[in-house]
């Protein structure tokens, strides 16, 4: 089973996966909070279980993200590090960048305004 191109849409969160070179890119649209985070976590866990190690999460479609969402990102980063993988957060949104800053997590994550073009 391959997850590429799969689109999962719940009431409040839309998740899709694409590839860009060697990178697996998950795009998230909607609000990430206590209600939708389990869905995001499950989706990412499944990708990692399938062997994805070079991951990017594009959050430019995210309208709202709380600590539960950040918790999912941290968990994903930790698991990727364990297998020598990497995580890029694609984010250009002011509001979202602010919560990374307020929590000091901008120092922890590799945050870029857009997808790296060199794959």
């Amino acid at each position: 089973m391959t997850t590429y191109g799969r689109v999962v849409a719940a009431m409040d969160l839309i998740l899709s996966t694409a590839t860009a070179g060697e990178l697996t890119v998950v795009s998230v649209t909607g609000e990430i909070d206590m209600y939708t985070a389990p869905q995001l976590r499950g989706y990412l866990t499944e990708l990692l279980a399938e062997g994805v190690t070079r991951l990017a999460i594009d959050v430019n479609g995210v309208d709202f993200c709380d600590s539960t969402g950040l918790g999912v990102f941290i968990g994903t980063l930790r698991r990727l590090r364990e297998v020598g993988g990497s995580l890029i957060i694609v984010c250009a949104r002011e509001q979202m960048l602010k919560i990374f800053q307020l929590t000091g997590l901008q120092k922890v994550f590799d945050i870029r305004p857009q997808l790296p073009t060199d794959g």
């Binding site: 206590m34 950040l70 918790g71 968990g75 929590t103």
Partner: protein, 143 residues
Amino acid sequence: MPVVRFGFTPAPVHVRTARLVAASVAQRAPLPNELLSEVRQAAGEACSRAVARHRRFGVRELVRMELTIGASFVAEVADFAPVTRNTLRTSAVEAEELTGKTTDEDTLTEEVALALLGGLVTDLQVIEGRDGVGSVVRMAWPL
């Protein structure tokens, strides 16, 4: 002093409504527009924290949010879960530690929530609830 109270079964879905309510009341307080998204985020964090605490301890009582418009705009979110040594903190551990430590994701989220609350709200308190039951996150914004 106008008061709005919002109580909800401790389920994640209602936290979204709580955010809506907090932002809506803050807007009419009125709080300046640039603060509304902070109120929305902070109220959401406090409510998520309360729901998480109720779930962890199996408390089925309603989580309660009280918004008061007076000299300041005050948002109080009360839970009714047991208060342990760790409950009444307003400061979080360092971000760098989070990614290294082997803490579970719930504890991790809690630390991030505290860091966010501390960053968003200047006037923040986490106090014991009435009659020593539960805890209250109290946040104030000057009007």
